[in-house]
């Protein structure tokens, strides 16, 4: 199956693929950021692959000078009972990524989570709001530079008496 996916993607999107990696039979493909919607659409609609379920979208912060963030898409094909993983790299200066909500509805909350925790902005998302942290909170807690115990005063408590 892995072979087939790579072949298909390579024949259709040779320019969009940054790298292909297989580890313990898990397939990970890094895609160029701006082509992600296109590739996702293909993976969903292709009759043989049919990745019709987006199981998760998550962020990752590698805290490195280039391609600091990654957005990871975990796909599942109900037809083939098969999983694969897509990734895009995101630079710190430009945290915009096209939203895949137009391909899978389930991306909605998952992308909101990645936005809330890492500050990655998903363009064309229908409702990009915070999901865990209160509205108006200015930090993104899963970024590596955010202290574990938080920034004093950033989350107000109610008055005591």
């Amino acid at each position: 199956m892995n072979q087939r996916i790579v072949e298909k993607l390579q024949s259709h999107f040779a320019d969009s693929i940054v790298s292909v990696n297989e580890f313990r039979e898990e397939l990970t493909i890094v895609i160029k950021k701006n082509d992600i919607v296109k590739v996702c659409q293909f993976l969903r609609d292709d009759d043989e692959l049919k990745f019709d379920s987006l199981r998760d979208v998550c962020g990752a912060d590698y805290y490195r000078p280039e391609g600091r963030f990654e957005v990871v898409y975990n796909l599942y094909s109900l037809k083939n009972k098969f999983r694969m993983r897509l990734k895009v790299r995101v630079e710190e200066e430009n945290v915009h990524v096209p939203s895949v909500t137009c391909v899978w509805q389930s991306a909605d909350w998952a992308e909101r989570e990645a936005y809330d925790m890492f500050g990655i902005i998903f363009d064309n998302h229908p409702d990009l709001r915070r999901i865990y942290m209160p509205e108006g909170f200015e930090y993104h807690p899963l970024r590596k530079e955010f202290p574990l115990m938080g920034i004093p005063g950033s989350l107000p408590l109610p008055r005591k008496n």
Partner: protein, 167 residues
């Protein structure tokens, strides 16, 4: 006419009110996470809080006078907890149930309030993760003792219920 002469008990009005309050504490179950399950056991038939006149778990703050905060209070949730506390009529008591509520527990992180006493006065802290329901009963009995002694809620001296283990 019935003869009430051997039924009459004389007491001070004050004592009568204390007695009534002590034996009709109505808990406001502020169950936020896993501790709430133990709190349900505390109300259920095995541990049976109704023996103490506290069977009426009212999910309405206006009818409750004892708030049992059971669970992990995040900063986002703290405003809700405070709002419910504010809506309860005086005199009102607070039990902090479990490690999370009392001290943040294992969640030493930006999102969890490291102890609800940072924003509401607590009368009894019950240790454990989660505390056994019988320990929570002990917490309730301590509140009853406080009422019987005529203490006011939210006083300086706190009561700490230690964890007990059963084999």
């Amino acid at each position: 006419m019935a003869d009430f002469s051997d039924l009459l008990v004389f007491t001070k009005l004050d004592e009568l009110i204390k007695f009534a309050r002590k034996n009709s504490l109505w808990p406001m179950p502020m169950g936020i996470s896993c501790c709430a399950i133990e709190m349900m056991a505390f109300a259920g038939p095995r541990f049976d809080v109704s023996r103490f006149g506290s069977e009426a778990f009212r999910f309405s703050p206006r009818q409750s006078d004892l708030m049992i905060v059971a669970g992990t209070v995040t900063y986002k949730m703290s405003h809700v907890v405070r709002k419910i506390y504010d809506q309860m009529p005086d005199p009102k008591w607070v039990i902090a149930m479990g490690a999370c509520t009392s001290s943040g527990g294992m969640y030493r992180s930006y999102s969890v309030v490291q102890g609800i006493d940072q924003f509401i006065p607590v009368d009894v802290y019950v240790a454990g993760c989660p505390p056994r329901p019988d320990n929570l009963l002990k917490g309730l009995m301590e509140i009853q003792k406080k009422i019987a002694r005529g203490e006011k809620p939210g006083q300086k001296e706190k009561i700490y219920i230690e964890e007990t283990f059963q084999v």
